[in-house]
């Protein structure tokens, strides 16, 4: 594993190379894709990107937690969490690419 970390900049660079828009426009489009996905999720929608994966929002019930250091009980409020289920294609490519 090479263990590099890519950021928005690398994604905009890929868009820039692939489509030939300006670097500024490419960056704005990457941002806009993430913003639309986030907005849909915040609205409670599932975001399903074929051959990539599915993001869905799950409701977690309230429960009593415990501070592991002090043993004190603390209420954990009901909350919404995001879960991501990778597509088969993503799982297969990640498994194949990192093999050996």
């Amino acid at each position: 594993m090479s263990g590099k970390t890519l950021t928005r900049m690398d994604l905009s660079e890929a868009v820039f190379r692939e489509v030939g828009l300006s670097r500024n426009d490419s960056a704005a489009l990457v941002e806009s894709v993430l913003a639309h996905m986030s907005d849909a999720l915040v609205a409670g929608e599932t975001v399903k990107i074929s051959s990539f994966g599915t993001f869905s929002v799950r409701e977690k019930a309230a429960r009593v937690g415990r501070n592991p250091k002090t043993g004190e009980e603390v209420p954990i409020h009901p909350r919404r969490v995001l879960s991501f289920r990778p597509s088969h294609l993503m799982k297969d490519r990640v498994a194949a690419g990192n093999k050996g």
Binding site: K4, D10, A14, V33, A40, V42, G53, R79
Partner: protein, 94 residues
């Protein structure tokens, strides 16, 4: 929301772009994330979340139908961790 709806929204906001270019842009973004993970790289998108690869150790599994023990090789699986801002927005803290 599905991929085509996402493309549609981006296309509406960018009337100066051809629909097929918007498709290529959106596809390039997702393809780039998968390729990075296939190389073992992480993709960190602040405010949204981070995609990374986790190693699952080899283990002795069991065929649930026959109860037979089978060796499961080590493997690498995709993992996503939600970003702080998005986690907060899901709970209306911002």
């Amino acid at each position: 929301m599905i991929r085509s709806e996402l493309i549609q929204k981006i296309a509406e906001e960018n009337p100066h772009l051809y629909q097929r270019d918007v498709e290529r842009i959106v596809n390039t973004i997702f393809e780039e994330i998968i390729s990075a993970m296939a190389r073992g790289d992480r993709v960190e998108l602040r405010g949204f979340g981070a995609f990374s690869v986790k190693k699952r150790e080899a283990r002795i599994g069991r065929n649930p139908r026959t109860g037979e023990a089978v060796e499961v090789e080590e493997k690498y699986v995709p993992f996503f961790k939600t970003g702080k801002l998005l986690r907060e927005r899901l709970n209306d803290e911002k």
